[in-house]
């Protein structure tokens, strides 16, 4: 097990395209770090740089204490689980899992095995060791009875397990996961998520995980690295990312449904959004400027008389989700979503669209204008 250190890591493609820029990160030994962000944000490229599949153009990468910029992937002591599993179709599960170990053995030569008895003995010992590793990993993943099948005869979930198993036998310093669950159906994804988490807890291994699904990120990571446009937007544990996003992008990326944003003017503690005047207190202190108000959907409720922060809204649609409902509201030009418990279902109706919604000023976040506007604290 080892830590991974990114120092100013960057990737420029020939032709000038900057895929990744200025990534500084310290992944602790045994930590589960998730790189998350929308498509094209550079998370996969970053992971592939760690794997040695992309050449590092700027910065330094260390695994353990070793600078590995110029080291070939197979010598970096890392193992990778691919999005499409990348199992060798002509080999059985057992052979797939044994493959990396076979490549590293000291006594594998077929010819020498036949000739030299000493060699043969050592080779046989190695054979047994390899098989033991494979069985161990298979058991951990619950695929022992699949060992003699070929990948073509397995389901998606089973294949994913085999892919993990192939990484497992290596006992690498770090595991790399490249969107391993995105090819599975929703239900399976949730199951596998839990299993991966359990695996991490059990092994205590350093894991670097890439996904575009923020829910997955939130549930799996010890720390999240939110990326956009090739740059790290925030690097923090999930709770912190959720409650104290560094900028508007992170705030809007994490959480489902995503945060509501309203633009308005703020001056001396009061925010003006359209006709409404909202006393926000300290957060809004200072001279007049444009800000963006951020509000989580579950913090938006039907206004009671006397609520200081209230807005006039029109109900656009109501979605019944079983234990809760999402109400889509039109406030001026903006579209907001309010997530309410199911019992409020009757209170919101498209046929009686006029409504007043309110929120607690302490629960609102303020951001500078712009997609990456910093949070104002």
């Amino acid at each position: 097990m080892a830590n991974i250190t990114f120092q100013g890591l960057g990737k420029v493609y020939p032709g000038g395209v900057r895929a990744v820029e200025g990534v500084d990160l310290e992944v602790e030994d045994g930590e589960f770090v998730v790189l998350v962000g929308p498509s094209g944000c550079g998370k996969s490229t970053t992971l592939r740089m760690v794997a040695g599949l992309e050449e590092i153009t700027d910065g330094t990468l260390r695994i353990g204490d070793r600078v590995v910029n110029e080291v070939a992937g197979k010598d970096r002591d890392i193992a990778m689980v691919f999005q499409n599993y990348a199992l060798y179709p002509h080999l059985s599960v057992r052979q797939n899992m044994a493959f990396p170990l076979e490549r590293r053995r000291a006594h594998g030569g077929t010819v020498r095995r036949l000739i030299a008895p000493g060699y043969r003995r050592a080779a046989r010992e190695e054979d047994q060791k390899i098989q033991a590793e494979v069985s161990r990993a298979a058991e951990v993943l619950g695929i022992t009875d699949l060992l003699d099948r070929k990948p073509g005869a397995l389901s998606g979930g089973q294949r994913q397990r085999v892919a993990v198993g192939r990484a497992l036998v290596r006992r690498p310093a770090a595991f790399l996961f490249d969107e391993p669950l995105s090819n599975l159906d929703a239900k399976l994804r949730v199951e596998m998520r839990a299993e991966l988490k359990a695996l991490h807890d059990r092994l205590g291994a350093t894991m670097l995980y890439v996904t575009h699904d923020q829910e997955e990120a939130m549930t799996l990571g010890d720390r999240l690295v939110v990326m956009d446009g090739g740059r790290v937007q925030q690097c923090a544990p999930p709770r912190e990312v959720y409650e104290q996003p560094t900028n508007r992008f992170v705030a809007g990326f994490v959480g489902t449904p995503s945060m509501n944003f309203l633009e308005g003017e703020v001056a001396d503690g009061t925010m003006t959004i359209g006709e409404a005047r909202l006393p926000l207190g300290n957060a809004a202190a200072g001279s007049s400027r444009t800000v963006v108000l951020g509000l989580r959907p579950d913090r938006l409720r039907m206004a009671e008389p006397g609520d200081p922060c209230a807005l006039e809204a029109t109900v656009a649609s109501v979605e019944d989700l079983g234990d809760r409902c999402d109400v889509r509201l039109q406030v001026g030009h903006a579209e907001l979503v309010a997530r309410r418990p199911a019992r409020e279902l009757s209170r919101w109706s498209v046929s009686a669209p006029a409504a007043r919604v309110a929120f607690e000023p302490t629960e609102a976040l303020l951001f500078d204008p712009g997609p990456h506007g910093a949070r104002i604290s």
Binding site: G52, E55, T57, E70, A72
Partner: protein, 788 residues
């Protein structure tokens, strides 16, 4: 399940069989090479090369025995024997061996080739050896040889008959007609006398032609035979000086027209001469031809197997005079042999009395030694023909025909005049004029008349090395400029290493030979003598090709027409077949196998088959088409005979259809790659079968069409073997494909430089065509539909 096991068992068995076969083969070859004996270095090793002729295995054995006997009698000398099979392959191989400077020491040479080989300087004059022998008291027995036969191997630089002796004839034959005694009796005719005339010949031919299902005579029109025919009228195509063309003289024209009228104006007097299969000696075997010739003795071994009727031999009929020629083959010694003395002795022994006796008994030809010829070794009253003496008597009136040194003469003569007297698609007047013009153009060409300097190979080599070095430096400098990082570098090293076979191959196996070939295209070189004799002619080859050489343009036309026919036809056929195969029909594996099989077959046997199919007289095509065409008042075409101008090339295109199995497989695979949903959606949208094909299948198949199309076009420009075996380009040049003409120039006319220029032009044409094809296809090809 059982089928699965059976296949696996079969596969395993086959794999085991293959392994055993390979091991056996390797063991056999290795032990043979080791054991084969590399005798001691004091040993003299002589190489002897010959062909098997009509006697096939027997002649082969006789030569082998003679050589082994020689080895026993001369310890210290080992003889290696090479037999490439037939005369055509023999001369090809001889040329390549000479070109490489490793010719055989002693080899056959036909008398028709003597002038060209002698003038190339590859034959050793033998007179000095004979002199030395005489001084030592050994008699080569030259006096015993028939003078007219021996003189055929004297060449003084411009004519045969006088000058140094270049070969010892091993045997010879005079010429005449074989006749079917039974048919003569049936027609109530007297058998031919020894001084019979053409009038008698004609009368007999007509009479026999009247018999049911019979034809009067088979009359071959090879150059030598035609000239012999003319000689019986006291004329020839070439004057006595061997240079003036007399082919347009009134006597020659009259004689040729007479022959043509015998063939084309009368029924059943002469065979039509159309079919290549049933021509030559074989047609006589059917027993329905009264006479066959003009032939020599070489047909006797095969005629001796005739059981159905009696036959005999009659000399050449006389016109205004009696005339005959000899056809012979001699043993010659290479001018570059390392053991002249030993080679001479070997050649001499191969023409010894014993050797000649053996050959004589074969009956294949007449021993060139008078003493043997007139002994019972040859003259054998028991076996037919009974008139062995007749051959010998003809020697008295045999003469030497003047032969120009250039091998193009005979080739042109044959291909041009045959159009008048064999296939009948031109008149005698036109054909002779064609020939005269062509030969004159040949003589007048700057290549023939110009005086050219030798190739400065040394300078070239030095310049080339400097250029190569320069290129290497430039490439190396470019390489260093764009170096990637360390990981990229190791990747690059791996890539270059893995691709090294290709890189090395492109440089040495492809690039260097191509460049050398380009250089050769600016030279004049026989290919037989060493490279030092090559002459620099600049662009003369190319100018000659483009401005003077009508046959070049003809061959391009023939090839282009073929391409225009065969490619669309073949591809449509293949696609149609693939569409049929793409259905769920029972035994589909069987059909696929059957359709693909022809393309894995090759070889001589297949060529014979096709000659038979397209035979003008009795081929399968005629048998199949006549019932269909006769009611319409038509008859099936004479594919390679009188209708060759319209049907010759299409015949090849039809043959090509049979070989489309490969293309068909590719189309089939392409069809199977089209997602079924596309055609299903089209069907639901209301598209009929044809529309589905045109609007869905065809566009989806377009990449395959391009690929197959390009391959087919490239292939059509390289047609050679079929044309070579079936028609040799004839009649005239009507089926002379480009590569065939290239081959003629290189191996029949000894014009390697010229041929190299043709090869380069071919390369450019193919590149341009492919480029156009690809460019044109880019607009119409869709690549998305196929699973990438």
């Amino acid at each position: 399940m059982l089928g699965h096991h059976v296949t696996r068992l079969a596969r395993g068995a086959l794999a085991a069989l293959t392994a055993v076969a390979v091991l056996w083969a390797a063991a056999r070859v290795v032990t043979r090479d080791l054991v084969g004996g590399h005798g001691d270095s004091d040993e003299v090793v002589l190489t002897v090369m010959h062909w098997s002729g009509d006697a096939g295995q027997e002649e082969d054995r006789i030569v082998e025995d003679a050589l082994r006997g020689y080895e026993e009698a001369h310890p210290g000398v080992r003889v290696r024997r090479i037999n490439p099979g037939d005369a055509g392959s023999f001369y090809t191989k001889l040329q390549t061996m000479m070109a490489a400077g490793t010719p055989p020491d002693v080899f056959y040479c036909g008398d028709e080739r003597l002038p060209s080989l002698a003038s190339l300087g590859v034959l050793m004059p033998l007179d000095d050896f004979i002199e030395r022998d005489r001084a030592e008291g050994v008699d080569a027995g030259l006096d015993d040889f028939y003078p007219v036969v021996l003189d055929g191997y004297r060449w003084d630089g411009s004519a045969t008959g006088a000058g140094p002796l270049y070969g010892l004839p091993k045997d010879f034959t005079t010429i005449g007609f074989y006749y079917n005694r039974d048919l003569f009796r049936q027609a109530g005719l007297d058998e031919p006398g020894e001084r019979w005339t053409w009038d008698e010949f004609l009368a007999a031919a007509r009479a026999i032609g009247q018999l049911d299902g019979c034809t009067g005579a088979e009359f071959v029109t090879w150059p030598r035979m035609l000239r012999l025919y003319l000689a019986t009228f006291g004329c020839d195509v070439l004057g006595d000086d061997g240079e003036t063309l007399t082919v347009r003289s009134p006597e020659v024209l009259a004689a040729l027209e007479q022959l043509a009228s015998w063939r084309f104006d009368e029924d059943n007097t002469l065979t039509s001469g159309k079919s290549r299969v049933a021509s030559g000696a074989t047609v006589f075997l059917t027993g329905r031809v009264g006479m066959a010739g003009p032939f020599g003795r070489w047909v006797v071994p095969s005629y001796r197997q005739i059981e159905g009727f009696e036959w005999d031999f009659a000399p050449m009929p006389s016109g205004s005079e009696r005339a005959n020629v000899v056809a012979s083959v001699a043993w010659c010694v290479s001018s570059r042999t390392e053991h002249p003395r030993a080679a001479w002795e070997l050649a001499r022994s191969l023409c010894s009395e014993e050797a000649q006796a053996g050959l004589g008994e074969l009956g294949l030809a007449m021993p060139s030694r008078r003493s043997i010829a007139e002994s019972s070794a040859f003259v054998d009253p028991m076996a037919a023909p009974s008139r062995d003496r007749v051959y010998l008597e003809q020697v008295e009136v045999a003469r030497l025909l003047p032969v120009p040194a250039s091998p193009k003469f005979d080739a042109l003569l044959e291909s041009r005049l045959n159009q008048a007297v064999l296939t009948g698609d031109l008149s005698v007047d036109e054909a002779t004029r064609n020939f005269a013009d062509a030969w004159k153009a040949e003589g007048d060409s700057p290549l023939m008349t110009g005086d050219f300097p030798r190739m400065p190979w040394g300078v070239l080599a030095r310049a080339a090395s400097i250029a190569a070095l320069g290129w290497a430096l430039v490439l190396g400098w470019l390489w260093r400029r764009g170096r990637p990082g360390a990981l990229g570098r190791s990747e690059e090293r791996a890539g270059v290493f893995l691709a090294s076979p290709l890189i090395l191959g492109l440089l040495f196996v492809t690039g260097f030979p191509i460049l050398l070939s380009l250089v050769l295209s600016f030279t004049r070189w026989t290919g037989i003598a060493g490279l030092e004799t090559a002459e620099w002619v600049g662009l003369a080859n190319y100018t000659q090709l483009f401005t003077e050489d009508g046959r070049f343009w003809t061959s391009l036309k023939v090839t282009a027409i073929y391409a225009l026919l065969a490619v669309p036809l073949g591809q449509a056929f293949a696609l149609g077949a693939a569409l049929l195969m793409n259905t769920r029909t029972p035994f589909i594996g069987l059909w696929r196998g059957a359709w693909y099989l022809p393309s894995v077959l090759a070889g001589v046997g297949v060529a014979v088959l096709w000659r038979w199919v397209f035979d003008g007289d009795s081929g399968l095509a005629k048998a199949l088409l006549d019932p269909l065409l006769e009611p319409l008042g038509l008859s099936s075409p004479d594919w390679f005979g009188s209708d060759a101008a319209t049907f010759g090339v299409p015949a090849f295109a039809i043959m090509n259809l049979w070989m489309v199995g490969g293309s068909m497989m590719i189309y089939l695979a392409g069809l199977q790659g089209i997602p079924k949903e596309l055609t299903e959606a089209a069907e639901l949208d209301g598209a009929g079968a044809w529309q589905r094909f045109r609007r869905v299948t065809l566009p989806m198949l377009s990449p395959v069409l391009v690929f197959n199309g390009v391959m087919a076009v490239i292939g059509s420009f390289q047609v050679f073997t079929q044309a070579f075996v079936m028609t040799r380009g004839e009649p005239g040049d009507l089926t002379r494909f480009y590569v065939l003409y290239l081959y003629n120039q290189a191996f029949d006319f000894y014009e390697m430089g010229y041929a190299s220029a043709m090869a380069w032009i071919l390369l450019v044409v193919v590149l341009v065509l492919t480029g156009l094809f690809l460019r044109g296809s880019r607009r119409h090809v869709h690549y998305e539909g196929m699973s990438r």
